[in-house]
């Protein structure tokens, strides 16, 4: 492992601005990966609970379809919640 610089693809020979950009992109990438990881974890948990109430010997086609729909619905819910939360923060900055 090559330290934080290597992690973000920094090369000591590149210019200062290039290294700064690489560092920022690396940090942003980490934030995005963590957000996606969290979303997948929640979708797994919630949609398994909802679509597979009694686990059988294999995933039925109905269960697979439910999982696909559930996933779409969970992401749509995330977006609605996000918008509602932003709206609330804007109108009520004390929180």
């Amino acid at each position: 492992m090559s330290g934080v610089g290597g992690l973000f693809g920094l090369n000591p020979n590149s210019s200062k601005d290039e290294r700064k950009q690489a560092l920022m992109q690396g940090i942003q990438h980490e934030t995005n990966v963590e957000n996606a990881r969290m979303l997948i974890e929640k979708i797994n948990e919630k949609c398994f609970e909802k679509c597979i109430p009694k686990p059988g010997t294999s995933l039925s086609s109905g269960e697979s379809l439910c999982l696909t729909n559930c996933m779409q619905k969970y992401m749509a819910s995330w977006n609605i919640i996000s918008a509602a939360y932003i709206g609330r923060i804007k109108s009520d900055p004390a929180i």
Binding site: S2, P12, K16, R88
Partner: protein, 92 residues
């Protein structure tokens, strides 16, 4: 590149570079905190509002206001509890 080289590649960042990076990291931190809150709210409100069987990909007419109310009432609850704790603290 070893960590020493990585460290030395950081060391020529001047004061304004460091300020810029610090601000950037602070913004990313705020973003991550916001996203974590949205994940937790979605988890809770999904349980409360999505009680029907999943039959399609779209959010139906009564689910959307339920999710929005859920967010707002959760924040109201939080404020009420903090206010109550404040009051109790004042009396103690």
């Amino acid at each position: 590149m070893d960590s020493q080289a990585a460290a030395s590649s950081m060391s020529d960042f001047n004061e304004s570079d460091r300020k810029e990076l610090q601000q950037f990291i602070e913004n990313e931190h705020q973003k991550a905190k916001f996203q974590t809150n949205v994940h937790n709210l979605t988890d809770m409100c999904w349980s409360k509002c999505m009680t029907a069987k999943i039959s399609g990909t779209t959010i139906d007419k009564n689910e959307k206001p339920c999710l929005e109310n859920c967010v707002n009432r959760f924040i109201d609850s939080q404020k009420t509890i903090v206010k109550q704790l404040d009051y109790m603290g004042g009396r103690a």
